[in-house]
Symmetry: C2
Subunit: 433 residues, 2 copies
Amino acid sequence: MAPETEETTRSTEDARETTARTPSRRALIGWGGAGLALGAVAGGSTAAALSADPTPAAADGGAAVPFHGAHQAGIATAVQDRLHFAAFDVTTDDREALIDLLKEWTAAAAKMTAGRPVGEGAVGGLAEAPPDDTGEALDLKPSRLTLTFGIGPTLFEKKGKDRFGLKDRRPAALIDLPKFPGDNLEAARSGGDLCVQACADDPQVAVHAIRNLARIGFGKVAVRWSQLGFGKTSSTTPDAHTPRNMFGFKDGTRNIAGTDTGELDKHVWVGKSDDKGAGAWMAGGSYLVARRIRMHIETWDRTSLKEQEDVFGRSKGEGSPAGRQREFDEPHLKSMLPTAHVRLAHPDSNGGTRILRRGYSFTDGTDGLGRLDAGLFFLAYQRDVRDGFVPLQKNLARHDALNEYIQHVGSAVFAVPPGVRDKDDWWGRTLFA
Amino acid sequence: MAPETEETTRSTEDARETTARTPSRRALIGWGGAGLALGAVAGGSTAAALSADPTPAAADGGAAVPFHGAHQAGIATAVQDRLHFAAFDVTTDDREALIDLLKEWTAAAAKMTAGRPVGEGAVGGLAEAPPDDTGEALDLKPSRLTLTFGIGPTLFEKKGKDRFGLKDRRPAALIDLPKFPGDNLEAARSGGDLCVQACADDPQVAVHAIRNLARIGFGKVAVRWSQLGFGKTSSTTPDAHTPRNMFGFKDGTRNIAGTDTGELDKHVWVGKSDDKGAGAWMAGGSYLVARRIRMHIETWDRTSLKEQEDVFGRSKGEGSPAGRQREFDEPHLKSMLPTAHVRLAHPDSNGGTRILRRGYSFTDGTDGLGRLDAGLFFLAYQRDVRDGFVPLQKNLARHDALNEYIQHVGSAVFAVPPGVRDKDDWWGRTLFA
């Protein structure tokens, strides 16, 4: 199949692959360079992709999530089971080379989220060239892969240098996070010029996506740090059961629902009137705070059940707020200790502030002292970091009883641009255009 | 429910929970100390557990795998999706304390593999005491969790010291592995007095199991190193599709099937006549070699398709042997380069040697140079390491074209005792008795 044919059918294919058919990648590729057999799908309009619901409520592990839309997928999308998150340093100082890379990345992301290999369809293309796709996801389903792209403060300015002529475009909401009490941040796990959050129901699909983006970016970007998450700790689908964190507790039971457009518009999506100074290029986007929170598992595991429940302000088994019977009973904050996590994190203790959480548990083996290197990779989306994570974390960092058992060791903040609207659009276009 | 009632019903419950009902752990626990509601299941015989098929062919992600049997589960068992492997140093020098721990571990393993929390059923027991179970798997299904226990050479003798009066019981087959060409082993990722391999279809269930065993062992053992694996690279069910490794290739397409009792008896299970010198305590057990194999992903990804296929001796897309059409066509070894991986690893190139592989892909973030710290955590079971991994790896380490792209950075070998036969049996009993 000729590339131009493929371009015209891509958006139709994206929409098509959200159906229950969800073919494996193998079914989509020919072998020996025979190429795609999808050319028979004629025509196609971008409207089909744009009108598709980007937040399917049902967690069908095999389906595809549409890549194109007003907002990037992977924010309001029903939280997938696994995560691979990567922060990149941009190593080129050539603005055009960076733009070319973002276009290449966008094209690859559209293919991978649809469950197709990177490149022109077959495994290899020329036998004498490296394969377009690294291959380890060839037999796997789309697995609800989402790839969510963000831009860190250092892309706009680094050590006083306006690297890409973007300094004046930096949104006021994209602040450098202040140092919070108790922070013990490692530079090697913090910051980044760019980021990509890969979420999928199959970890191999998420890892494959980050690896192929890193490969495509060779010579222009380098992975600064990356993090795998094996278990979601938040849900954006209130009817699903609330996952547990590594302390064995349900947390964030009242997360913003991915279908609650009112709350999303109020707390998550950047509005057209926001950040006029830097231009409205972030309208429809969001701001992401990522924190690697190490949990002192061994200390926690020697703490009494009563202490654990007091620390959270919640029962361990059912997950009910202190003094209540069921998980979703309205919390009575005054029944909790003033240092209880649920009480301090509740919107009523924070002037109504809400953030959309998509955090994941991680376990990265063992540290040098035989302790599990485990914890929570906290990911939160918000309309403005200054009104979202910052006041919330100031409150928690000062008072939360949980601080005895956790430590923030990595930190980053990113502007997450609006969605890629169609096949001619690309990650970051509104910023560079 | 009283503990003694629970003891008598456990094996029945184990068998019962292998059915399609597979309740979640939450369904099995009362809240507020009300305890198990399973007392109504009367009587029960160990025969039910022993006769249950330990290798269900169907990969029902939610089901339980029976814990009791002639062989340990997690070897011939259909390979689960995820891995958490831990090697432990024994920190006590008290033989009785070690035996007590192994009994405690065995009881906890029987519960967790059945999808039940550790301890007496409820989350907590006393509010003033730490919970018996850490809780993060409470809502999750058994997820085919298997826990497979092994004993390293250093438990028998370390620096010339007979630590537990076991020196004369060390099997001749449990050799210290020789140094192979190209080995670049890190001490912090090698060795161990004991090991537990946790495999499950849900990573949170595998992590929970290792974490709780480490917690129970506090003061007697310490985790020396651990490894998470996110994607299986081998299958013991020949009818399932062969998984791909991080190089994007199918490998080990001709693994020993978990249902092939003839080949298992010949190549995997220790026979009664083996190792008479050390006593027959290993009869029904096996020997495990674990190797952390770092893959140089970035180098590989810049290698041409032809080179990649020549290195493996196999096509990338279909996985067919060189010169053949389909994955399971009989390989024609002479069609491959003498350095091709398939040719060198084939039984015909190794005097008929076969090993049972259960390896997993890993990605542990990024190294200091921005490269993915990724590769294969190789796990192989065999009747005798001297006739299995050692000659095979000697052949591969000398000649395999793949060596340009990989490096062995961790290594360990363990004697894996026979299965726990019933509720009175425990991990390692045949060794210590």
